[in-house]
Amino acid sequence: MSQTVLELEKLTIALPPGADRANAVSDVDLVLRAGKVTCLIGESGSGKSLVARSILGLLPRPHVRVGSGRILFEGQDLAVAPQDKMRAIRGAKIGMIFQEPMTALNPLHTIGRQLDEVLRIHTPLGKAARRARVLELIDSVHLPEPGRIIRSFPHQLSGGQRQRAMIAMALLLNPRLLIADEPTTALDVTTQAQILYLIRELQREHGTSVLFITHDFGVVADIADEVAVLQRGNLVERGTAGAVLGAPSHPYTKALIAAVPKLGPPAARPANTQPFIVEARDITKTYGTRGLFGGRVTRALAGVTMELRRGETLGLVGESGSGKSTMARAITRLLPIDGGEILLGGADIAKLSRRQLRPVRKRVQMVFQDPYASLDPRQRIIDIIAEGPIIHGTLPAKAREEAQALLGLVGLDASAAQRFPHEFSGGQRQRIGIARALALHPEVLVADEPVSALDVSVQAQVLALLADIKARLHLSMLFVTHDLRVALQVCDRIAVMKQGEVVEMAPTAEIFFNPQHSYTKALFAAVPGGTWQDRKAS
């Protein structure tokens, strides 16, 4: 067993009064060994991020603080270490990278200067020596043209590049421990795969111990040596990656693993020969930024053609910037398109005026991604659901009656009607969003990443609800997602999109068994954890 780098002993982090529970985490025992990647996994609100931050004493004082327990590192208890001692450790002996690369770097300083700052704080090195070291690190994280990177500002780099810069910054002084707080959650699948590979590679080179915080079992399967599972602040299971993933002992872990859709062959589906309900032909959409000197023109949709049969679920899969969300909003006429036709039941709705469009709107309804932004915070639930019918002329009293019934349909109890959105969890809010869409009895449901923002257990319930409703109400569905696992489970046919074009479209089984386009193959390869569910405990 390699040498212990850091040990958490009965760590308890207290929350301020008025929070949903007394302690964020209680009695957490965890050992981080040199050269090993320890994954701490848990759903949102489990307290995993606070554990990471407590090690470096970055808890938002005075509200959240270490209640009891010890954080042993090189013979010291960091929980009670004085500020100056902590500062000597931070950035030098323990490095940390964060989840949001877009905001984690100071927008007004160049990348070079922010890296150089670490050396200025902790080392007596001269300007030239520091510059050399920084260039060396930038190169080690495979960033192109280190000379240019040093002079460029954060907003001039992509999300992935910025995360690489953060990693370089954390590893500048060869720390013994690297804490990574969900570093790839905000990134695309392909970029995520590269970053995970980079961390693994650097970790092996320098024998650093890594504490990796995540909520995605796929990532655990890819990178973890050890795993610890956190449920609402309690460490419920610990062990090697293979053991925990292959043969979980604690029921909570079992449930979590079961909820993750398999990257496996989709269930057989009868061929759908229904007529097309929605046909999109050669849709084009460009965003022009009119800078003073001829700004950049980005082509969101470059001639997309696709069809949706009645009762079918068509998946739109692609990374951010592929145009899948734009396509969804184009079809529901939420945003104007530059060219092409949208046929709904044979009639083109692309050119309709606002007034002509009103009756058509009832037939196509949308479910949104962000549970916290898709409901009007100032409206009661009953009014949110009933608003659609009221707009289209149903008497308010009758509309509310129907809305009340819909609550049952989406699995919410009647008392929810009079409450406000902020009193519900993410999952419950998505159910309300679905009820709102169903209130108008649409023929087509367009779901734009409906479950991406949810925890994996809640994700499963919402997907089940969608499948059940689609079947019962004979709906056709356009399902937009970046997660291939979800797509394989839900969709009948899949269209893979890249930079505004459909690179491949085929029934789900065909896409899984023999993907044609290289990009589709790359997508499959980049799915974290790959087909780990099939691999037996190793």
């Binding site: 529901t332 939420l334 709107r361 949104f368 962000d370 009007d376 915070p377 100032r378 608003e387």
Partner: protein, 275 residues
């Protein structure tokens, strides 16, 4: 909403502001009872120092300064609140339309807003009062004319950010009309910042009114704090109390309103809350 009210109550300064405003409102309501006759009435010898028969002394014509301040409170509040409401309505409509429809309408409306800000605010107010000749209504119009641009810019900013929010797109998806989206969804959601800025605006409006009256452009038939100060200004040296007490009244009122404004802002916009 109750969470907002609790936060407001915990904020000591906001409570002090509320207390000041409460006294003011009580004063305004009970003024006809405490001082039944017209504040302009000559009730005693001129230039009486405070204390004795007249709590705050008498002014140059022998009128009770306390009665004047009581009736002045009503005017200052009417002008302050009236001008602010007018500015909010006008600014919200202009800012809302610009923020919602964007494109050319936005540039045109924003150009107009900027034009109003190129003329120094106080001179512009003077010009309007000179054109309409001094009266309470012309003061309200003048103050509103110089205050609405700040509301317009605020509401435009809020509408632009709300416009992108998914619940607004959801309503559009339901087939809601522009008016329904603006009035049922967008305005209620920026109401909190409008209230906060609006309350600060009341303070500035009262200061502007005092300034106008100080330069002799107030309504002569209506008792206002600015009028008392401008009357007392000439005899400042021999009768200091005529200027001092209304000045303090203005200070307390504007202070109270600002404290409430701050309290409302923190209570309604949680993201500024304790970090």
């Amino acid at each position: 909403m109750w969470a907002g009210f609790a936060r407001f109550a915990r904020n000591r300064m906001a409570l002090f502001g509320a207390a000041v405003l409460l006294c003011l409102l009580l004063l305004v309501v009970f003024t006809p009872v405490i001082y039944p006759d017209d504040p302009f009435k000559l009730v005693g010898p001129a230039l009486q120092p405070p204390g004795g028969r007249f709590l705050l002394g008498t002014d140059t014509l022998g009128r009770d300064v306390a009665a004047e301040i009581a009736y002045g409170a009503r005017t200052s509040l009417i002008i302050g609140v009236g001008a602010t409401l007018a500015a909010i309505v006008f600014g919200a409509v202009a800012g809302g339309v610009a923020g919602y429809y964007r494109g050319r309408t936005e540039t045109v409306l924003m150009r107009i807003t900027e034009f109003f800000q190129t003329i120094p605010a106080f001179i512009f107010a003077l010009l309007i009062v000179a054109i309409l000749s001094p009266s309470v209504s012309s003061e309200i119009i003048a103050i509103a004319a110089v205050s609405w641009p700040s509301i317009a810019r605020l509401v435009r900013g809020e509408f632009v950010s709300l416009g992108g929010r998914e619940f607004v797109q959801a309503c559009a998806g339901l087939g809601a009309s522009d008016a329904r989206i603006i009035f049922n969804h967008m305005l209620p959601n920026c109401a909190s910042s409008i209230i906060a800025v609006g309350s600060l605006l009341i303070g500035t409006a009262i200061l502007l009114e005092a300034g106008l009256a100080f330069l002799g452009l107030g309504d002569p038939n209506v008792m206002s704090w600015g009028l008392i100060i401008s009357a007392g200004r000439a005899v400042l040296r021999s009768a200091w109390w005529i200027c001092t007490f209304p000045g303090i009244a203005i200070l307390l009122t504007v202070l109270g309103i600002n404290l409430i404004g701050d309290g409302l802002n923190e209570a309604l916009n949680p993201r500024l809350r304790e970090r």
